[in-house]
């Protein structure tokens, strides 16, 4: 049975300095309230895996000096432009970058999910993405004839951190069609969830809801965080706060502006 934490901060206790932390892409429900809480706590040296891409979340954590290593396929603010703190950190060499490609991250987590040591993946051969990843190996397909294929080691995060629409009182979490959240939880040692609301009743009792439910078995702790993805969207629930994201893009363009953003929206103002 997961811990029902009284605060987001309490739920985040398993995320220690140096944690291998996996977080989801923007259209899956990004735990932004929890991210701000991590910045306030001053978590350090994260190995952040963004499955398979990130936007504001990675940029904020990098800018706030919480990240030592970033493993992802892309970071961008989308229509609001490049992710400024990410670009700055990579160009100054202050984070270790592990460039990936989207299906490689999915596959490496699936290997961990299955408890097998690696997963093969097509593509990649002849790319500099592969060249820059000494942890990925080129092997010969044992069932083929001169068929080189890339093997990716299982990626087993210490913690998966996700935001979802609801959880029931048994700690089951409804994720709907965002199935990669289940893969993350299956692969990670521990999963921390923030939710919009608590659901009265048993999510697993209703076959329609059960199909989109992550069983509490996989969950370490849960905290309530209404509008917990803000200013990012929670798909099917609320849209992105475009005005805020535009303001972020403007402020984060400089180190001073970013510090101002942190002061106003992370340290002083705890929610929208």
């Amino acid at each position: 049975m997961p811990l029902f934490a009284n605060t987001v901060e309490e739920a985040l206790a398993p995320i220690a300095d140096g944690c291998l932390l996996v977080v989801p892409r923007e259209v899956s429900g990004v735990p932004m309230e929890a991210t701000r809480a991590l910045v306030r706590r001053g978590v350090k040296r994260l190995h952040l895996v963004a499955l398979p891409t990130s936007s504001l979340q990675a940029d904020l954590l990098i800018g706030a000096d919480c990240v030592a290593t970033l493993e992802t396929s892309a970071v961008s603010l989308g229509e609001f432009g490049p992710a400024p703190r990410f670009c700055d950190a990579v160009m100054r060499g202050i984070i270790r970058m592990m460039d990936a490609t989207c299906p490689a991250l999915h596959a490496a987590l699936q290997a961990a999910e299955k408890g097998v040591p690696f997963m093969p993946l097509r593509g990649l051969i002849g790319s500099d993405v592969l060249k820059q990843r000494p942890d990925w190996k080129l092997a010969d397909n044992p069932f083929g004839d001169d068929d080189p294929i890339v093997l990716l080691p299982a990626l087993k995060p210490d913690v998966a951190l996700i935001h979802a629409p609801m959880a029931d009182r048994n700690g089951n979490v409804w994720i709907g069609r965002q199935r990669e959240l289940a893969t993350m939880a299956h692969a990670a040692e521990k999963t921390i969830v923030t939710v919009e609301k608590l659901h009265d009743g048993d999510l697993l009792a209703d076959p329609v809801l059960a199909a989109g439910t992550l069983p509490g078995f996989y969950v370490e702790s849960i905290a309530l965080a209404p509008r917990g993805a803000w200013p990012l969207p929670l798909p099917d629930h609320y849209p992105a706060d475009a005005a805020h994201l535009a303001e972020y893009a403007r402020l984060a363009a400089t180190a001073d502006g970013f510090a101002d953003y942190l002061k106003r929206y992370v340290h002083e103002k705890r929610a929208a």
Partner: protein
């Protein structure tokens, strides 16, 4: 807008729709309004011909996206050959069809950092028709050799390669890609542009016929289909683009439009 003025975006969408051809499944990634317009146009044409294809998956859309098994389903689908057409771009694209979505300069000390390779290092190999699309046609973007290969244009013979580039569409012209010769060929220049201007603004060598044709303008029927049927569908995910190009206001919620 009035009927006879053709916007550049409409011309490009039409060029891309013709490249898509008659296929079963077209997928379009994020931040690609013109390829998305082209895919929806191909779908409407398929409907008119009673073909019931192509399926169109706009990855940014809730409505035009049937995937239910998480983000990996797209890649699993592609790995099996269930996606016929995809679109890629690059901060740099070179004459051998290599694309760079990562950085310029030295990888460890980049001059410019781009967002990252996304799914390109995989999809470029397994989607039969990859259409490269870059609206900025300059020596900055179309280079002699990319600084970083997110995905190579061609592969060694023993490398599994069921896909790759077929064409490169820019604001100035249409190139086709010859995989055997690992070279682009200038197929047509868009109205108002010339082959000399294309050469001046391209950092790589390419083949060209003695006389380079002009890209044909979309027919009135195609324009009508695009403006009346495609534009309202596109407004769900690209409201600003549709407003600018087609002058169509959208009531679509941005809930379906994550950045």
């Amino acid at each position: 807008m009035n009927g006879l003025t053709i916007r550049p975006e409409e011309l490009l969408a039409c060029v891309i729709a013709d490249l898509i051809g008659d296929v079963r499944h077209v997928a379009v990634g994020n931040a690609s309004p013109i390829p998305a317009a082209a895919a929806l146009l191909a779908r409407e044409r398929g409907k008119l011909q009673g073909l019931g294809r192509p399926y169109v998956s706009l990855l940014q859309s809730r409505k035009h996206n049937f995937f239910t098994d998480g983000a990996r389903e797209l890649f699993d689908c592609a790995g099996q050959g269930r996606i016929d057409v995809f679109f890629l771009s690059g901060g740099q694209i070179d004459g051998e069809g290599n694309i760079n979505l990562v950085s310029t300069g030295d990888y460890d000390k980049p001059k410019v950092r781009f967002p990252g390779s996304f799914g390109s290092s995989y999809l470029y190999y397994v989607v039969p028709k990859v259409i490269l699309f870059r609206t900025e046609h300059s020596r900055r973007t179309l280079v002699g050799k990319v600084d970083f290969i997110s995905a190579p244009g061609t592969s060694a013979k023993n490398v599994h390669r069921s896909g790759g580039p077929i064409a490169l569409v820019t604001n100035r012209c249409l190139f086709s890609f010859d995989r055997a010769r690992r070279r682009f060929r200038l197929d047509s220049v868009h109205p108002g542009h010339t082959a000399e201007e294309v050469a001046d603004n391209t950092g790589f060598e390419f083949d060209r016929p003695a006389k380079v044709p002009t890209t044909p303008a979309p027919s009135l029927a195609t324009l009508a289909l695009m403006r009346e049927v495609v534009a309202p569908q596109l407004a769900e995910i690209y409201p600003q683009f549709v407003q600018q190009v087609f002058g169509v206001a959208s009531a679509a919620s941005t809930a379906d439009n994550p950045a």
